[in-house]
Structures are given as C-alpha cells and as structure tokens.
Amino acid sequence: MTRYSLDLSFEDFKKSLSPDDLLTTVPGLYFSPRSGRVLIVEPESASWLVVPPKEFGYLVERGLLAPGSGARSSLRLADLEPGLDPDFKAELDRWLYRLFVGNMLAINGYAYHQPSRLWAVQKYPHYFNIHLTESCNLACRYCRVGDSPGRFALMPVETCKKVIRRVVEEIPGTKIIIGFHGGEPLLNPEAIVEGSKYAREVARSAGKEVTLSLQTNGVLLRKHSQLLKELNIEVGVSIDGPAAIHNRHRVFGSGRGSFDEVMDGIQAARQAGLNPGYLAVIHDPGDYLPVARFMVETLGATSFRLNFSCYEGRAKSKLDFDPTRAAAFARNWLQLLDFVLEHHRQTGVWLSIDDLNLFVAHLLTKDRPHMCYRSPCGAGNAILGFGADGKIYLCEELVGKDQFCLGDIETAPPLHRLLDESLVHARASESRRVENVAACAGCPWRRFHGAGCLNKSFEYFGDLEHRDPMCHFYRVVFEELMWKLADNPEIINLISYYKKYIRVQNEWPVGI
C-alpha cells in the first residue's frame, strides 16, 4: 500500500492494492441486521456501512467479518478473491474500499483513520453566556431558575462590562459570541444596552468579530424589540408550541399560562424587523409532531430547536421522569424525519430541526460542530457561563453550581490562564471523555453522541461518571438515522445548515 490522503478515492485505493496485501479484521465492530442487509458500525472512528447480504455473507464466510467474536483474522487479498465472478469481484473491491475507509478492515495492519487525529478538543471557548439576572418573570415547571422577579439581584452593568472586556481581551480566538441569558435577560435592559455597545467597542479595538445573542421567554418582547433591533442582537424565543401545550408548563408564578403574552411578543419582534429563532422544550414525547407543526404552520419557522426536558430545578419535584422514558422520545422524535420529508415534497423547502439535522451531519463527517455532542463536551473548552454575581462557570447550564465554579470575574487571573490551570476544568473534561465514562467506553455510538451532557449526568445521577440519562434515545436514533439514510439518500439535504462548518467524507457510507 502507498501513501493515503484523507480523501482516498476508490480509484487510488484500487491502484495501491496488491495481491500480497494482508487484510485484517478489526475487533469491536457493532453489527445489526435488518431484512437481509447488515449495518456495521466502527465506533472509534464513527464510521458505518450498510452491507447487502451477498457481500456480507461472503466476508463472514472468509472470516474477515466476525459478528459476536473478539478474535482477529487475517487473509491475503489474493486468497480472498480467487476464482470469483468478475462482476462480484468488482463489487467486492468497492466494499473492501468502504470497509477500509471506515476503519473496519486494516490493510497490512494499517488503519485508514488514526484515532489520535480524530476528535481533537477545542482549547479555548468562543461562546460566553452571561446571566444578566438569575430571576425570571415566569415560573416554568421544568426550569431551575428562581421564580419571583427581584428575588435575585440583577447583574450590575459594571460586572457585565468587565466580563465582556476580559473574555474579549484574555481568551485567544478571533470570533466570539456573547449570549445574554438568565433568568430572563430582558429584566435587565440596562446591562443589555451598555453591554452590547461595550462589546462592539472592545471587540473592534481587539480586532475580533463579535456576535451578540439573547434568549428570552418572549413576555417582555413587546417592550424591548425595537431596542434589540437597534443593538443588532440575534434573538431566540422559548415557546413550547400551541397554547394547549405551551401553557402546560410555561406559566407565570400564579400558574396561568404565558402563551398569549409570548405570541404577542413574537409579533412585536417581527414588527420591529427581528427574525427570532424558536426553541421548544418537550416533556411529553407525543408533542414532537404537534409542536413542529405549530412552528412551521403558525410561526412560519423553517429552522427551530426541540429540546427535551431535563431532570433539574422544579422538574425534579413537579414532573415525572420514568427511567424508561427515552424509548417513547426516540419513537416520536423519529417521526420528525417524515415530517421534514413531507414538508419538502409539498413546498420544496428543507426544514432545519435541531438536533435532527445535526445528527444526520454526524453520520457524514468526523467534525462535531455542536459543543454538546463531543467528548469531552464543550464545558470550559467551547463555552463559559457567567452568573449574575460575576462568578465564572464551565457552562451556562452549570451556573450557580459550586462544584463547577472556576472563580470570580473580579479576582480571577487572566482567563486563559484560569482555564489552563483550573482543576475543576481539568477534572470535568477528564471525566467526560467517552473512554472514561464506563457505560460509554464500549458504546457503538460513543463518537456519534459523545457521552452526553455533563450537567444532565450530574443532575440525574449526582456525578459526572454516568452516561446521559437519555442514553437509549441516542442509541436508537443514531441507528435509525443510519438505516433511513441508507434507504433514502435525499436525507443528506438536512445537513444544509451545518454544511459550512463540516467537511463531508468523499464517499457516502451507504454505498449508494
């Protein structure tokens, strides 16, 4: 074999093969049969293939693939293909190529992807999430944020500016995102105004590009939309779907649903010329489809995010978390795919529903554009969270949790040094590597999913050593998406939003 580039083509592969080459099985593959064909997953390089019965059967018979066995076997290429019908031999060569590029077959002991080159971890964060307040004007039943306005102080404007200055000046990188969060950030308009202007100013003098964003429950949008437009802030609104669904959990302290106020806020935002993004939290898996329909038909959105509720804050006492709930979530979530395909058939438009589009992208690339689906996740390496009191945390989700506090913006050493030297950061990153989470270390989906959210493991299980509490959801949806993609290559179009962030393999893993 000769030198390979990362994008080895079939033609080059064929040219470099010689009959003396030694083909070796790679142990640890995952096999899953369905109607004759077999899905093979190579976990470490996140590669997968759907192989037709004839070719699969032949490779098993020759000992090159061995479902259920930990043993290796080797075979000279010359001994694999003697006396084969030329058409079948040509087909088989193509499959050898795919198996090789998928790290499922080693040639002369050499594997195509070198594990230490995949899965690089970002060094410094680019996303800084600032809690302008820890209080909120709503009391959603699944949220962790305190429910009466004024119960917690607002972030002082000076603290907000100091956070902004320090992240811009002290953290390496040229593109940064500053997200105003909370609580409800619109309860602190002064910090938004002063912080935004200041951010643009310091970014300009540091020669950096800054994007400003804000996530709101929408209730105060009527009042502040014009301002947000003027400040050029990207706005995300949390809305859980039609009134009947939204009002179940997104309520005021009195228990009254907030749907009407939120819709009014969205209308005002649009009138002001904002183009908000939408996020819904799903607690009842049966809501996936009605919520998606609402987003598209009522809000006219083509891109939105559906998150499931997590076990934290008030959800722990107010909502039910059956340990087997992941199965129903997976089943219902997968219907979104048919919804997207149907929508495209009717309108010619591809919807972009997160994380559906992201997960499809994960099947086609080794890049992991979203910080929550890497190993270790982005906590401390892609994101930092800042509490309203100026404390620094590994992630927005971890704000207020002492175990994940890195220090205080007033007293912390230069932030890049803080990150380099922080034991809290080092420990969290180490614990969340897939190889260190016992349940994930041998999981076929570990490099597609990445061991899950640090915060969710912490909230649900009480430590960082557990798999994601929705583990089964990921196991099911990644496998199903592979089968669906094998049957319907059109699904590739779902990755359009992520296209600019990823490098896609030069051969689809499905052999289409």
């Binding site: 995952y30 899905l39 002991g109 070198q114 299980f461």
Partner: protein
C-alpha cells in the same frame, strides 16, 4: 475432583480480567475476598442463582461506589425468577455507572409466552439505558433447529449481546457440534453477533465457529457461592476454598492457564509457533512502506497485558490475540511507550527487531503514528 494448592500471589493485573461470581444471599466470597477481587478485576460478573432482591442490588451499589476502575455485569435467569420481578429492579440498576451489561439467562427450551416475557424485559432494560444481553442455555441433546429463530427474535427485541452455553457437561448428540457450528455460522453471516459463552465439553475444539468468548483461564476465574474457586464454571478442579484461604494464595493466575484450560493451552502453543516466523520475517521494509508512518513514527502501546513466564519470556495478549516473545523481545516491547520511534528501537536492537515490530503491528498490539 483435585484440589490444587499453590502458594502464588497474583501477578500483574491482566487486561481484561473477569471474575465470575455465583451470587446468592450470604455468598462466601462477599467477605474479605471481595476486597481482593476488587483490586484485581476489570470485570466482576455476578450470576444470581436466586431471584434478584434488594440484597444483590445493595451489593451492586456498594461495588458501584468503589473508586477502583472495573465494570459490573449481572446475570439473572429470566424465566425461573419471573420477568415482572426483574423489571422492578430495572430502575435501580439503571442508576449504576459501572454496570456494563445485564444478561438474561434463558433456556433453549423456553416456550413462546416465556420468550415474549423475556422480549419485554429486554426492551424495558434497553429503554432505561442498560445494555441487555441474552445467554441461552442449551439443554443436553438440544436440537439446534428453533435455536436460530429464538436468537433472531431476541436480537430484534434489543439483546445487544447473545451467547450460548451448555446447561451441563452431558453427552451431546454426535452431530451436535457440527449442527451448532452451522447454526452459528449461519447467524453470523446474517449479521447476528452471537458467540459461545463457554466451551461445550466433548465438542470439537477445532471448529472456529465454536471458539468460546470466555477469555479462557488467562483472563477469568470462577467463584461459586460457597467460596470454591475454579478456573471456569465447567472446570471440575477446585483450586481452593475462600473460607480457609486468601484468593491470592488460591488463584494461580494465567501463569498456569495452560494446565487449567485446554483452549488456553492451544493458544499458548500456537503463539509459540508464530514467534519464530515473526522474528524471522524481514518486515522492516514493509513497515516503512506503511505510509503515513515513517521511521520517526512513535510506537504507541495499546492496552494489553504481558504474560511472564521463565520458559519463554513473555506473551503480549490483547483480546484473544497475542504473541509470545523471547526475553529480548520482551525488553523491546517494553520500549514501546509512545516516545520511542522505529528508528530508536532499531538502533538499539538491530535490524532484526523490525520483524518483531511488524508482527506486533499486524496483530494490533502496537499502533504506529506520526
């Protein structure tokens, strides 16, 4: 039954080492031996021979909280103990971080309603994030027809691993070995990951489809609930008694694997044969051609364990693959630490070392990286 008594201490911790423990309330090993087990184990597998109860879950929790790094596996009979009873424990089991798999043992003779129960158990366990598996016990003289369908159904219901073992060492039918091998080959060629959990005594060990995944006596041992230690569940040789001895005094470890297990003996023999070939092969040219590796590539160790033996130096074992090394070869292998390069090793050990590195490389016992 022979009782072996060897005054050996446990040597290097082999990887992975599996302790198979038979559990029932008051199991003899649950006392001080447990500390020794924890110190040496990569896997601790509990096989419940009585219905699951709070006591076993408490024991698992206790093990789960230990700081040592090992994984747990739990085996429980699905039919005899009732799927509904087991389901009650799925919630608590799903909270254990070290629990690698929950295996439901079922009989090859189980009828349809029993199979349906096990199927529902499998999907409940999977939904809770557990990794469920199936161990099918083949009754003496069992027919293999029907077994195939049973296995396919269980895979469809979510069994992530599927293994077979005999109920006892009873005389199988003369054609049984061949039929079983055919059945396994057939299932594998359809992509069903099925293996033998143990040997089937009396069956031809040469049939490759009948290779057991038991880790042989190199990498596992069996402790029954009375505290008697054996190389495996099937072995009749009692190596010691935990009520009177310490585990370290009893378990001879893999140094004597050859004496304890015929398959381990076969492995050692074949590894020894290959040693000569490996060292003779002038593989350096080939290694150098394996771009993008180069002479400056560092050799990275992969997790494996080293068997030490005075007679023949050492053997490197990874999974079921390995290589026997001369004392000089062992020295070379120990230089593979991610820092030394092909060049530095060749300089130190001469050009013939290339053949050995090549042999290691082909078996995945070393990684080459720029």
């Amino acid at each position: 039954m022979k009782i072996f008594a060897r005054n050996q201490t446990l040597p290097l911790r082999p990887e992975p080492f599996v302790f198979r423990l038979e559990w029932k309330p008051g199991a003899e090993w649950a006392g001080s031996a447990l500390e020794e087990i924890i110190a040496e184990a990569h896997f601790i597998q509990l096989e419940a021979v009585q219905p699951l109860d709070e006591e076993v879950v408490d024991l698992l929790r206790k093990l789960d909280d230990r700081p040592e790094k090992f994984s747990l596996r739990l085996l429980s009979r699905a039919e005899d103990f009732g799927a509904e009873t087991i389901k009650k424990f799925i919630g608590p089991l799903s909270r254990l971080k070290k629990l690698d798999a929950v295996i439901f043992v079922i009989s090859s003779r189980s009828d349809e309603p029993a199979q349906a129960e096990v199927s529902s158990l499998l999907s409940a366990a999977a939904s809770a994030g557990l990794k469920p598996g199936i161990l099918v016990e083949l009754e003496p003289g069992a027919s293999v027809s029907g077994l195939e369908q049973l296995i396919k159904n269980l895979r469809l219901s979510g069994a992530m691993e599927i293994a077979l073992r005999p109920t006892s060492a009873a005389n199988p039918h003369p054609n049984f070995g061949k039929n079983l091998a055919n059945c396994l080959s057939h299932l594998k060629s359809e992509g069903i990951p099925v293996s033998l959990g143990e040997c089937f005594p009396g069956l031809e060990p040469g049939l490759s489809a009948l290779e057991p995944n038991c880790r042989r006596a190199f990498g596992s041992c069996y402790l029954d609930s009375q505290g008697l230690v054996r190389a495996c569940r099937q072995s009749r040789e009692i190596l010691g008694d935990l009520s009177r001895q310490k585990l370290a005094e009893i378990w001879p470890g893999y140094l004597f694997a050859e004496d304890l297990c015929s398959r381990a003996a076969l492995t050692v023999q074949s590894l020894k044969l290959e040693e000569n070939e490996a060292v003779e092969a002038n593989g350096m040219a080939e290694v150098e051609n394996l771009s993008p590796t180069s002479l400056d590539s560092s050799l990275r160790p992969v997790p494996l364990f080293i068997l030490k033996d005075k007679k023949w130096g050492a053997a490197l074992i990874k999974g079921l693959d390995g290589l026997v090394l001369s004392p000089k070869g062992e020295k070379l292998a120990r230089m593979i630490d991610g820092k030394n390069t092909l060049r530095s090793i060749r300089k130190k050990f001469g050009p013939r070392s290339a053949g050995l590195i090549y042999a290691l490389f082909l078996r995945g016992l070393v990684r080459l990286e720029k």
